[in-house]
């Protein structure tokens, strides 16, 4: 057996790969792409919710939202760290995000225009993310799997707080309920797009499944998400904006309408409502922080030099 064959056999036995183990270049590249994309999604994902931190309608909601957005920064950090074990630097990854070379979840290119969006993002967007993420706790690359265990543990409050926001709105005034429905109308389809293209159009699925980086296909996860979410929407008393949505007794699943794939590909290509703003905001934070990062490093070098002169 050559190295590649041994690797494939090793992975097929469900064993974990650790940073210094031999791995095919393509496996490493796929991981870097997927983990960094995931990290970028967490960090860019802070922005739409960050948009409501200063306007949250109660001090408790403000605290919860802050804690949640902060978790996303933490998740970004865990994932960047996992990615760094593959021999890339966080700075390079961030440079790729800013240049547009690296992708992130397209969902965050939609604007969060109402408070109800804080509920919807938690319920639908985090709900969809959890569907994608739970299987990743068993992904074949050890540091990624461990980061995901941490992420999933912390995420569990995110979806609940989102659902609770919507529940409060749906149990509230007519205006509040309308706010919730309007929000679901905007986010439902983009949430379904989060699972990526249809299996037959997905370029990475087959290989990623074989390497156990991915453990379910896009369409499987999308169906699972819909099946789980529809009863919850009924509980809230909200209408899902899909006239074709109905239970299929034979399949044991919900049938649903066609996703607007043209929109999907346009948003990925950078034409979503907020693509440019999101990257500009990240770039600005990074640029405005440059002097801080430089100064902190300069200070630590000064201190190190001082202590070595003292020691000498």
């Amino acid at each position: 057996m050559n190295m590649n064959e041994r690797f494939e056999a090793y992975i097929a036995s469900d064993a974990k790969i650790e940073p210094k183990d031999w791995m095919p270049d393509a496996y490493r590249k796929t991981l870097i792409r997927q983990i960094s994309q995931h990290a970028h999604s967490e960090v860019v994902g802070m922005l739409p919710e960050g948009n409501w931190v200063t306007r949250a309608p109660s001090l408790l909601r403000k605290s919860i939202l802050l804690a949640k957005v902060q978790d996303e920064a933490g998740h970004g950090l865990y994932l960047y760290s996992a990615c760094e074990t593959l021999g890339v630097s966080r700075d390079d990854l961030i440079a790729d995000l800013h240049s547009g070379k690296a992708k992130y979840s397209s969902i965050f290119n939609y604007p969060a225009t109402s408070w109800a969006d804080m509920g919807t993002i938690g319920w639908l967007v985090d709900g969809a993310a959890i569907m994608n993420q739970v299987p990743l706790c068993k992904t074949s690359y050890g540091p990624y799997a461990r980061a995901m265990v941490r992420v999933c543990k912390e995420e569990s409050f995110h979806q609940r707080q989102g659902f609770q926001i919507l529940l409060a709105l749906c149990n509230g005034t007519e205006e509040q309920k309308a706010m919730a429905q309007e929000s679901i109308n905007r986010w439902w389809w983009p949430a379904l797009m989060m699972f990526g293209p249809r299996d037959e159009d997905s370029q990475h699925t087959e290989e990623s499944m074989r390497w156990r980086i991915k453990r379910f296909t896009n369409d499987e996860l999308r169906q699972k998400f819909i099946d789980m979410t529809v009863p919850q929407a009924e509980l809230l008393g909200l209408t899902i904006p899909d006239p074709d949505l109905k239970w299929n007794e034979e399949r044991g699943h919900y049938d649903f309408g066609e996703i607007n794939w043209e929109e999907f590909y346009h948003v990925i290509r950078g034409n979503g409502p907020c693509n440019k703003e999101r990257i500009a905001a990240r770039q600005q934070a990074h640029d405005e922080g440059a002097w801080v990062r430089e100064a902190a490093l300069a200070h630590s070098k000064k201190r190190a030099a001082q202590s070595s002169t003292h020691a000498a």
């Binding site: 183990d21 933490g74 950090l77 966080r90 700075d91 461990r146 941490r150 200070h299």
Partner: protein, 96 residues
């Protein structure tokens, strides 16, 4: 930005409660040890996961090589007499 301008990487170890040893939980970037501790507190113990934190520069770690895995660890395989289950004792001896 090139790599020399980046803050160094630190590995973080957290003792989750008194009586347990510190366990590796992840890593972060910090310009100095003080900030590495403060950041580790904010990043890895937001949910009361710890009572004590160690940080050490990732560059200070020497790791065994995966290529040596066989020669380092396999020789222990056949030393089964090191495990208590190797020894069959009469049933009359209850706890030993």
């Amino acid at each position: 930005m090139n790599a020399s301008n980046a803050w160094p990487l630190w590995e973080v170890f957290v003792r989750s409660r008194q009586g347990l040893s510190h366990r590796h939980v992840g890593s972060l970037h910090a310009p100095d040890a003080e900030m590495a501790i403060q950041n580790a507190r904010d990043v890895y113990t937001r949910r009361q996961e710890g009572v004590s934190i160690w940080v050490l520069p990732a560059s200070a770690i020497t790791a065994s090589s995966p290529a040596d895995k066989d020669c380092l660890f396999e020789p222990a395989n056949d030393k089964i007499y090191r495990h208590p289950t190797f020894y069959d004792l009469p049933d009359e001896v209850k706890n030993m």
